[in-house]
């Protein structure tokens, strides 16, 4: 595929949208063909907006208002198997209800794109944003992005179509954005004026294996012990290798639209003695905390992880190997585990003890001062490595 790149020629306009509406606009500009969704807070405005696009004739797509999330993912899996570009979105319990179908979309190698307005799991029922939903789907084979603001949510959703449909990938892609702190917050962003530019960037490849009456195939066969390993390994390897496509797609996006994000970003890490590692919307707070720490003479840095799967190990080692103390602020419990979910993986990646904190659980409010204090405690040796501590938890 050759792309005529006319740098600087992609006209964009500055508007203000919530994260949900930005993700919906991205799916619309990528001209999705089938949308199936079920309402759940905080995802709802995203799928409401898509229904408006369809019913107002702004998007030529089929919108299936299904009777539950299990059917939402099943319907887009069916539509994708038919060759259509598809989109769905959910949160928390809805993702839990989809769980059965999550690894099937991977095994069938279908480039489903899903928005996740992140939310805590029940019980107690909590509609607010943390990352327990996203963390529960890490091992199933999806490409998983975690974004930090509305602009990145928009841009990443468009990138997701290009990455998932790439002939060397053919995998489902999830774009996770904080429930409420991104999904419902109005922020300024730049969007392309012309949908054609988005379609030049992410043309529908239809290169995956499909249901075709002229070329009949059976999809979803029984995989006996003689074959399952090889078939599943192909999906495993495709996910591992997709990191290259993620980077290429991001770089091309940068060339065309002027914004790229890499696998994550670092802030003042070069000479840092202590680094706050996190994901999602609170990366901005972490950077503020870094500035405050540096004002007090503590050489701090921050890092946000954008790509949860495939796990960007090399990137993380490059950025953090030189940092003495690393503290991960995890936003979902790793019940019964040693440290937080991302802390577990980062400690393994860096092959040394790190620090683990829990924050924003059930969307408990936090701020840069709280993150600063956490990093201070780490810097001063007041907390033990590989023993989680909590930011903002009441009680003893």
């Amino acid at each position: 595929m050759t792309l005529q790149l006319e740098l600087g020629k992609v006209r964009q306009k500055r508007i203000a949208l919530t994260g949900n509406h930005a993700v919906a606009l991205a799916a619309k500009m990528a001209r999705v063909e089938v949308i199936a969704a079920y309402p759940i807070t905080p995802q709802t405005p995203a799928v409401e907006r898509l229904a408006e696009f369809v019913n107002n004739g702004e998007l030529d797509a089929e919108y299936i208002p299904v009777e539950g999330e299990h059917s939402a993912l099943s319907a887009v899996v069916g539509a994708s198997a038919m060759g259509a570009r598809v989109f769905t979105a959910t949160s928390s319990q809805g993702l839990g209800f989809m769980y059965e179908i999550l690894p099937i979309a991977v095994g069938l190698r279908l480039p489903v794109v899903m928005g996740i307005a992140t939310r805590a799991y029940s019980a107690p029922i909590n509609v607010w944003g943390d990352y327990s939903d996203v963390m529960s789907m890490r091992e199933l084979g999806w490409i998983i992005y975690m974004v930090s603001n509305v602009q990145e949510a928009f841009d990443t959703t468009i990138q997701a179509f290009r990455v998932g449909e790439d002939p060397s990938v053919h995998l489902p892609v999830a774009v996770a954005y904080d429930g409420f702190w991104i999904s419902h917050v109005l922020q300024p962003l730049e969007v392309p004026e012309d949908e054609e530019d988005v379609m030049r960037y992410a043309p529908i490849t239809r290169s995956w294996r499909k249901l075709d009456v002229d070329n009949p195939a059976s999809l979803g066969a029984v995989g006996t012990p003689e074959w399952y390993f090889e078939i599943r390994y192909a999906a495993y390897k495709a996910l591992e290798d997709s990191i290259k496509v993620v980077l290429e797609a991001d770089a091309l996006y940068g060339k065309m639209f002027g914004r790229s994000y890499g696998l994550g970003s670092g802030y003042k890490l070069e000479d840092a003695d202590v680094a706050i590692v996190t994901y999602g919307s609170i990366y901005g707070l972490a950077r503020k905390a870094v500035d405050a720490l540096r004002a007090e003479g503590i050489r701090a840095g921050a890092l946000k992880i954008r790509l949860l799967r495939p796990w960007p190990a090399d990137f993380l080692r490059r950025r953090l190997d030189g940092v003495d103390k690393v503290v991960v602020v995890d936003r979902a419990f790793n019940h019964g585990g040693l440290v937080g979910p991302v802390a577990t993986e980062l400690a393994a990646t860096l092959a040394r003890p790190i620090y683990s904190a829990y924050a924003t659980i059930g969307m408990r409010a936090t701020d840069s001062a709280a993150l600063k204090k956490a990093a201070e405690r780490v810097a001063k040796g007041e907390v033990e490595p590989m023993r989680p501590f909590n930011i903002g938890l009441r009680g003893p």
Partner: protein, 340 residues
């Protein structure tokens, strides 16, 4: 009126010639294509009638058909990588989502036709071929959603009255008193204590254009129902009774015989609901006692006189109700003296 039943290319072992001769109306003369779209070499049990249903379903629907096959006997027995018995596009996703996967496929066909990816003049059938567990139990919600949203999908439920693939557990369509591994005939409880879900009536209650019951022993009637379903612009549902040797425990040669007796005793009534009009499509002038149906099958062998009498009463009432719906005595009175 007697109708000569001649279906070309059909050689059903165990089928009595003219099994459906007492049908109330003249069947369409089916000229079935020679082409096989459900291929031999599958792993279905000896005498399993799933193959009979699938093969004839595809002969009626033709090659431009996409099959959604939720988890179940048909699925595990026909597509084991790298082999398949389906010469049409086929997909298995999971157990409880036949209705929603088909909804997505049908929606995709519509939009891809509008966008010129698929020839807009090409008629492509989407059929769900699901068992009773995948339809009446775990797939019930997805089915209801698909019917309510009026996707143009033909939903064929092959009902062997239990989870036969996993080893004969009871389902929502297992009949009263049948012994299954999760409703065993015990010293205290005589097997399954629930009634069969009337899936075709439940489907029809969604206001869909076509819902029917069928029985492979009454082949022309079943074929006609597949044909009608394919012509309908909207959802259709066909509940097909399917005999299962290991689950029902009959001698393999009686796979069709037991299905005939299901209808001859009034245990299974073949009907259709077309645009809200209820019609019994295979009449039975005089019913045989239900014992004729029961005694061929090991799953009922624990029943005493009392249970059999109770089952007979249940059938009498069901038949009365269906006759009332049809507006006439299309299923006749019980003939207690009838030979099985």
């Amino acid at each position: 009126m007697k109708v000569k039943v001649e279906v070309r290319g059909l050689q059903l072992p165990g089928a009595r010639p003219g099994a459906a001769v007492e049908a109330a109306y003249e069947y369409a003369d089916f000229d079935l294509p020679e082409q096989e779209l459900f291929l031999p070499g599958h792993g279905l049990c000896a005498s399993c009638t799933i193959g009979v249903i699938a093969r004839h379903m595809l002969k009626v629907l033709g090659p431009d058909t996409i099959v959604v096959n939720p988890t179940g006997c048909a699925e595990v027995s026909t597509v084991t990588y790298p082999r398949t018995n389906w010469a049409v596009p086929w997909i298995h996703v999971a157990f409880g989502n036949g209705g929603s996967v088909a909804s997505g496929i049908e929606a995709a066909i519509k939009v891809l036709k509008r966008r010129g990816v698929i020839d807009p003049n090409r008629k492509i059938n989407v059929v769900v071929f699901a068992g009773d567990g995948g339809t009446a139990d775990i797939g019930f919600q997805a089915l209801s959603g698909m019917l309510e949203r009026r996707h143009r999908v033909i939903y064929v439920m092959y009902d062997n009255e239990g989870y036969m693939n996993t080893g004969i557990q009871r389902s929502g369509t297992t009949p009263l008193f049948a012994s299954a591994t999760t409703s065993p005939a015990g010293k205290k409880i005589p097997g399954n204590l629930t009634h069969k879900k009337p899936m075709a009536l439940i489907a029809a209650a969604h206001g869909i254009p076509y819902s029917a019951t069928a029985n492979p022993a009454y082949l022309p009637d079943m074929l006609e129902k597949f044909r009608k379903a394919a012509e309908i612009d909207g959802p259709s549902f066909i509940h097909v009774l399917q005999s299962c040797q290991p689950g029902w425990r009959f001698e393999p040669k009686y796979a069709i015989k037991v299905l005939e007796l299901a209808t001859e005793t009034g245990y299974w009534v073949n009907y259709e609901i077309e645009d809200g009009k209820f019609r019994i499509t295979v009449t039975v002038p005089r019913r045989k006692p239900v014992e004729c149906f029961l005694k061929l099958q090991g799953r009922f062998k624990h029943l005493g006189k009392e249970e059999i009498a109770f089952l007979q009463k249940v059938i009498d009432e069901d038949v009365k109700r269906l006759n009332e719906m049809a507006g006439g005595e299309f299923i006749g009175p019980l003939d207690p003296e009838a030979k099985c």
